[in-house]
């Protein structure tokens, strides 16, 4: 077929041209990811804090790792990050699946619905975070206004910065509002490659909607679901912007996540040794989670 590579006709000169054309991408991405990774490994084994300008950057071995792994602040951030990831990925995926099924139907106004759903995804996180910060503000937002209309005791609750649980609720709402659309679009693409006649055949056989959902949609959606799951999980594990903007990690440090702590250590404390160790642990965590997913979703070879 015409889709394949014109491999038979590639001359050696073309191959050199190929390397030349690929080189810029590789150089750019290596400079932004691989070099910092190696630099982090180096830093993590040294004392390297700009606030102690005069002190030598002496080799400290695994001291930084020991300090991070026994630091209750880091352990707290790890726990919060994991809980946030599990809750938000689970919730987002279920809602996104429903949304994708909705978008998959042929109906008048589908284009409008799709555009309306895409807007929250496309706007900057600073918009979604600031927007929901406004909404949860007792004076400026609608949340308090509507809750007060339901029940007088629900009026005047402070959401951000005063109560840990309610701060998380607000972060969670802002994050899901922004991220569900993307997951839904990925799942929609998965739904669109399921041939329609499979459903026709099931309907002819008298299958209910639920049966064809369980027996056809879910199994055939598995590749799209696994892609969406990996995307969304890594995104949630690394959550930063929305936390920084909405709560700044507070009240206290009760909404600090691993990425937030990494920012604090690098940029606020200018401690590149400890920060390097934290970063590497974050990279390892992301790799472990991806590996688990890839293994779990590997297509069964029979």
């Amino acid at each position: 077929m015409s889709r394949g590579r014109a491999s038979g006709r590639v001359s050696p000169g073309d191959r050199y041209l190929g390397y030349l054309l690929v080189a810029p991408v590789l150089v750019a991405l290596a400079a932004i990811t691989v070099y910092p990774l190696i630099y982090n490994i180096w830093n993590s084994l040294h004392f390297d804090n700009l606030s102690y300008g005069g002190l030598p950057h002496s080799f400290t071995g695994i001291k930084n790792y020991k300090a991070v792994l026994t630091n209750p602040v880091w352990i707290g951030a790890l726990e919060r990050t994991l809980v946030f990831t599990v809750v938000s990925v689970g919730f987002d995926l279920v809602v996104a699946l429903a949304l994708a099924l909705m978008l998959h139907r042929q109906f008048r106004g589908r284009g409008f619905l799709r555009a309306a759903v895409l807007v929250p995804w496309a706007v900057p996180t600073v918009v979604s975070a600031m927007l929901w910060k406004t909404m949860f503000d007792p004076r400026a937002g609608f949340v308090d206004y509507f809750l007060a209309a339901f029940h007088p005791a629900w009026a005047g609750l402070s959401w951000l910065g005063a109560n840990t649980f309610r701060s998380w609720v607000a972060i969670f709402v802002a994050d899901s509002w922004k991220n569900i659309p993307f997951v839904a679009i990925l799942l929609l693409a998965g739904l669109q490659v399921i041939p329609g006649d499979v459903y026709e055949a099931a309907r002819v056989d008298g299958a209910s909607w639920w049966q064809s959902f369980r027996r056809i949609t879910l199994p055939m959606l598995k590749p799209a679901l696994s892609t969406a799951l990996i995307f969304r999980t890594l995104q949630a594990l690394l959550v930063f912007d929305v936390i920084y903007i909405m709560t700044g990690g507070g009240p206290g440090n009760s909404t600090q996540t691993l990425s937030f702590l990494s920012y604090n250590t690098f940029i606020v404390n200018t401690d590149f040794g400890t920060g390097g160790a934290m970063s590497l642990l974050l990279v390892v965590l992301a790799l472990v989670v991806s590996a688990i997913y890839v293994r779990a979703f590997r297509p069964a070879t029979t």
């Binding site: 041209l17 991405l29 910092p36 807007v119 004076r139 399921i194």
Partner: protein, 301 residues
């Protein structure tokens, strides 16, 4: 393509049995479906209405609160926040910075990703598989793990608190998806097209310029839109490397707006939020189909 052809049999089927449409149970189901659609649209868009409503309040109305003088539908509108955001808050400078960086990243991405996408699709580069895997992996690399070393790098060359290095750094957001997208796109262009030109004596680069690029315009356009959105939206790198307000990008500048004692002037913040959402909303409305196609092409192999 697949979606349209797959949906057609179902539509034909429905049209062939018009009697089913008017069944009461079916009508109720249809009504519930549209109710769900309305709820989804409200959840997606009502917050934007609220932002616009807040942005059009005067400082006095903001201070009075929603329950005070103003209701869900504001009693009176005021453009003062949109004026103040430029005069008091100097929003024009961060907007200009964001436009420079986002357009710069988009331009570099389009050139670099087109070259690589073409080579990976057509030129039988050795190690294509591992190269593509590395590009994908780079897209998942934790941003907050990179900021420390990048901070030190920028510091050592005196490029901290400068918007121009961001043009390169933002490539980590844009290159992975754009390269994958364009590789997939070039693979779908029939190879016969270039073979004909090659056998007419054209060189590879001539073929690329005269034959491939004109056909690839839609794919390149999609990559450009996605790149602009991704670069425009960054917060993490900007907050880590930029220190003086004159060098802030728009998303970063917004987080410093509206604070005055115990009062937060949400009208000022939300006017800025409206302004930076406008280009993105326009892009989405204009190119909704293309964006969806691009996002999904980037994620499936």
């Amino acid at each position: 393509m697949t979606a349209q052809t797959a949906a057609r049999p179902a539509a034909l089927h429905r049209a062939a049995r018009p009697a089913r449409r008017h069944h009461p149970a079916r009508l109720i189901r249809e009504a519930l479906f549209y109710l769900a659609v309305v709820i989804v649209v409200l959840i997606a868009l009502f917050p934007f209405y609220w932002i616009l409503r807040t942005a059009l309040e005067s400082n006095g109305q903001v201070a009075a609160g929603v329950g005070g003088s103003n209701g869900i539908i504001p009693a009176s509108l005021s453009g003062s926040a949109f004026r103040d955001v430029f005069t008091q808050a100097q929003f024009l400078t961060p907007l200009r910075n964001s436009i420079i960086v986002a357009l710069g990243t988009t331009a570099v991405t389009v050139v670099v990703a087109s070259m690589a996408g073409y080579a990976l699709a057509r030129l039988n580069v050795r190690g294509t598989g591992p190269i593509l895997a590395f590009i994908l992996l780079a897209g998942f690399f934790p941003v907050l793990a990179m900021i420390g070393p990048l901070f030190l790098m920028l510091r050592s060359i005196g490029a901290l608190n400068n918007i121009y290095p961001l043009i390169i750094i933002y490539l980590v957001y844009t290159l992975p998806i754009s390269t994958w997208l364009l590789k997939n796109f070039f693979q779908q262009i029939p190879a016969e097209l270039e073979e004909a030109a090659l056998s007419d004596g054209a060189t590879r680069l001539q073929v690329l310029r005269k034959v491939i690029i004109p056909v690839a315009v839609p794919g390149v356009f999609t990559a450009a839109i996605l790149s602009f959105i991704l670069a425009w939206n960054d917060f993490a790198f900007a907050v880590s490397f930029l220190t003086s307000t004159g060098n802030f990008t728009a998303p970063l500048a917004i987080t410093t707006f509206g604070q005055s004692g115990y009062q937060t002037y949400y009208n000022l913040i939300d006017a800025a939020v409206v302004i930076i959402s406008i280009p993105i909303a326009l892009l989405v409305l204009m190119a909704q189909r293309r964006i969806v196609a691009g996002l999904t092409a980037g994620s499936f192999r």
